[in-house]
């Protein structure tokens, strides 16, 4: 009887461990910070891309309008791919704020001259601090901020057709 209980418990434990590890194997093991609820836009400080003046986010973002904060760099290939979508978003009367991440100013300027400037304001983030204060971890990354200054969507990676339509739905 005792032996039977031992065998049953061992079997159940084995099945339990098998299921846990099997499910674990199916999950991607690379963590990406997801946005599961709306969060207040953190305060951040940066320098104006053109004038070099210090800019505080509170003075920059006005209430009652949607903002798209896009982190980009001239050396980032996917940024080039998503640029046409940003230009299209600019035509939708949206406020686009660009954060130029760890870039060389002249390279960034030629990038904008070549592909167009969709941003109403660009901050320069030379050491990556502004991006971390925002909660970003790479380029390109895009945040959709609603009228209450809350981040309602975070797009990690380049904007594609599907994400572009998602953004349009969100700002309706």
């Amino acid at each position: 009887m005792k032996n039977k209980i031992f065998v049953t418990i061992s079997f159940v434990l084995f099945v339990f461990c098998f299921v846990v590890f099997y499910v674990g194997l199916q999950k991607p093991n690379i963590y990406t910070p997801k946005l599961d609820k709306e969060i207040k836009l953190p305060n951040f400080v940066g320098n104006d891309f053109f004038s070099g003046e210090k800019v505080i986010s509170d003075n920059l973002l006005k209430k009652n309008s949607y903002y798209i904060i896009n982190i980009w760099a001239s050396w980032c290939i996917p940024c080039r791919a998503e640029h046409s979508f940003l230009m299209a978003l600019n035509n939708k009367n949206l406020n686009l704020l660009g954060i130029n991440y760890k870039d060389n100013i002249s390279n960034a300027q030629s990038f904008l001259n070549e592909l167009g400037n969709p941003y109403s304001k660009i901050l320069s983030d030379k050491n990556g601090v502004t991006s971390i204060e925002l909660g970003a971890y790479g380029v390109p990354e895009t945040f959709i901020v609603n009228k209450e200054k809350k981040i309602i969507k975070k797009i990690i990676g380049p904007i594609d057709n599907e994400k572009f339509n998602e953004i349009l739905e969100l700002i309706k």
Partner: protein, 123 residues
Amino acid sequence: MKKLIFFITFFIILSNNYLLAVDKPTELENKIFKNLRCLICQGQSIYDSQSDFAESMKIVVRKNLETGMSEKDIYQFMKKNYGEWVLYNPEINKGTYLLWSLPIILFVIGGAIIIRKLSVFKK
């Protein structure tokens, strides 16, 4: 030979200057760096990692300490921005309850089994 001595002396002076110029992290900074996970080289703390992201995180930690934030405040700040996963030492809450209690439960069960076995042997 003279040239060699000149180059060695020049090299020593240069490297010393470099080492003196680099800001050495304080004990508290190192403690915080070791408890924050680098999201680029996952599995490494920002203390171990030399990725661009980790270097920027270190600057933010230093900047926050300078503005008077405590160690706990910095963990809260990082958790708010990147989720619980960024911390190597997660706090006890609903999601980590099992994680924290499982070693204790296993220890108690294991201890009970050993004591029982020992008492059987004694008999």
